[in-house]
């Protein structure tokens, strides 16, 4: 018996349902343990605290502390992209779930979309906690003239960042222990290149580092949010950042889709999609 082919509308609905289901699992899984939630808000405060004390020690103005708090909150998103998007197929394969995703009658992109939505919502809760706790503990000033624009830039940053996460997820798909090590490797170097913990608006960061950092969407988003939330800037100070973020998204999504198809096909040919304990 042949299965009836689905209309475009039915196919879209199926994929949206799959994305919602994957998002729900992620939201439920990440928020059922209050200890983890508290730790994920409190832990970045330790690093942020160290940098704020360092800034005070060498006589920087308190706005540098505000920049570090925003950087610390954005780092939470990067960590989420690395460990819960990029490495996710690796975890799923280790736990025996990957084959179930592969035989499900939905696009793998919808599973990734669900992961991204769930992950970004979860991390948004934690990032908000980090910012509020950071402001409360370190008493740093913000100068927010256009909250709506900050919201737009923040959203564009997340979309671009998670598009990069989708691309990494595809590339990490066949990794064994490399997944763990590569995710580890992409932490501090990206914090450095994106200027997460040092305020790039001083304009003293060497060009080579700025150029390398511009390959990471978080760099644009972080700088734009700092200009708006600390420097009191408006659209004229961040329009280039907005174009860069939109361009990142438009480039990364199709590449991620192609990479996912390629890696899946390669995994099937080499028989590595169900391989565990590599």
């Amino acid at each position: 018996m042949m299965l009836r082919s689905l209309s475009i509308r039915e196919e879209l609905l199926n994929n949206l349902r799959a994305a919602y289901a994957r998002m729900w699992v992620r939201l439920r899984g990440a928020n059922r343990d209050p200890i983890s939630l508290v730790a994920e808000i409190g832990l970045p405060i330790l690093a942020i605290g160290a940098y704020v004390v360092l800034y005070r020690a060498i006589g920087f103005p308190s706005t540098a502390g505000a920049a570090v708090i925003i950087g610390g909150a954005m780092v939470a998103f990067w960590t989420n992209v690395l460990w819960n998007m990029s490495s996710q197929w690796f975890w799923e394969r280790e736990q025996g779930n990957l084959e179930m995703y592969l035989v499900a009658p939905v696009s793998r992109m919808s599973i990734l979309l669900g992961m991204a939505l769930g992950g970004s919502l979860n991390t948004a809760i934690r990032a908000l906690g980090i910012v509020l706790l950071g402001i409360f503990v370190f008493q740093v000033p913000f100068q927010l003239n256009s909250p709506l624009l900050v919201g737009v830039v923040f959203l564009l940053t997340l979309i671009a960042l998670y598009a990069l996460g989708m691309l990494f997820a595809s590339l990490f798909m066949l990794y064994g222990r490399e997944a763990w090590n590569t995710a580890n490797l992409l932490q501090e170097p990206v914090y450095f290149l994106s200027g997460a913990y040092f305020p790039g608006f001083y304009g003293l960061v060497p060009f080579a580092i700025q150029a390398a950092g511009s390959l990471i969407p978080m760099t644009f988003g972080l700088d734009a949010i700092r200009r708006l939330a600390i420097g009191g800037g408006d659209i004229t100070s961040v329009w280039l950042h907005i174009i860069a973020l939109v361009a990142c998204t438009l480039i990364l999504f199709p590449i991620a889709r192609r990479a996912l198809n390629y890696m899946e096909s390669l995994g099937k040919k080499e028989g590595r999609l169900t391989l565990r304990w590599q």
Binding site: G59, G176, R177, L185, V205, Q278
Partner: protein, 288 residues
């Protein structure tokens, strides 16, 4: 005989751990991975100081180059903390849940103790590689490439002062790692939090990137009971970055805090072992 068995088990555990951690790639790539993370951490704080010097935030250039040397050494040796805490915090989870071998190790002769020590020593070796490469790269970047004349002479280090401090520091960190393993034996939700939490606390309170005198006064007593504080003090004294007159006192405090950490570590581990045996936790599956 018992000691010989312990050493043999620890050695075999070290071999297994080393293969798990290193044989997924070639040695050059492995060494690159070991150095990039600590080097990037160092570059973050170094750039903060360099930017501070450029905008003339606080003091003169001599202050900044001396501070940079102080910071490079602290950050480089912090690699031991990161490697040991992260490695030992995840060990029980990986062996129990991922490879499902913890129960086999437990029922084999020799108990878990030499196994944990052997695996911890792999982190020590990784940490040592990171420390050495970070120091070499720092000198190459800041003095070689950027011509900053940072007062950091790697050939002038007093090894007689450095080695006792590093050995005691490693023992204390292994003892704290032992506690993290113990917590993970009886819990299945802390494995991804514990290592980061403890290393984060040490980063903030241990005098890694700024002197503990800059912390609020009510926090400083905590810094003064952490072995990492005295480890970094003694290491900086052996590099000639702090007055050497305090070395013996700092080393004595390091020895004392290490002894306390070892006693507490063994006690906590034994308690966890008994509880896990009673509740059948050695083969608990938690990833589903």
């Amino acid at each position: 005989m018992a000691v010989a068995d312990f050493v043999k088990s620890a050695r075999e555990s070290f071999r297994v751990g080393w293969k798990i951690e290193s044989n997924w790639t070639d040695p050059v790539l492995f060494a690159t991975y070991q150095v990039i993370r600590p080097l990037a951490s160092l570059l973050i704080v170094a750039f903060i100081v360099i930017i501070g010097a450029s905008v003339g935030a606080a003091a003169n250039s001599a202050f900044y180059s001396r501070y940079l040397a102080w910071l490079i050494v602290g950050n480089a040796f912090y690699a031991f903390v990161l490697q040991i805490m992260l490695g030992m915090a995840i060990l029980v989870h990986v062996d129990r849940t991922r490879y499902e071998v913890l129960k086999n190790i437990y029922i084999s002769p020799g108990t878990l103790h030499p196994y944990v020590i052997g695996r911890g020593l792999v982190s020590v070796v990784n940490g040592a590689v990171s420390v050495i490469l970070t120091l070499l790269f720092s000198v190459a970047i800041f003095n070689g490439l950027l011509h900053m004349n940072i007062p950091l002479n790697l050939l002038g280090v007093n090894l007689l002062m450095l080695f006792p401090a590093v050995i005691l520091g490693i023992i204390s960190l292994l003892a704290i790692g032992y506690m993290l393993c113990a917590v993970n034996i009886v819990s299945n939700r802390m494995e991804f939090i514990l290592g980061d939490s403890v290393s984060g606390i040490f980063f903030l309170l241990g005098g890694v990137i700024f002197p503990i005198a800059l912390l609020p006064s009510y926090v400083q007593p905590i810094s003064n009971v952490l072995p990492i504080t005295f480890l970094l003090n003694t290491v900086r004294e052996s590099f000639g970055l702090l007055p050497t007159g305090d070395y013996i006192t700092d080393l004595a405090y390091l020895a004392l805090t290490t002894l306390i950490a070892v006693i507490v570590g063994i006690a906590v581990f034994r308690l966890a072992e008994q509880r896990a045996k009673k509740l059948g936790l050695f083969d608990r599956k938690s990833e589903y």
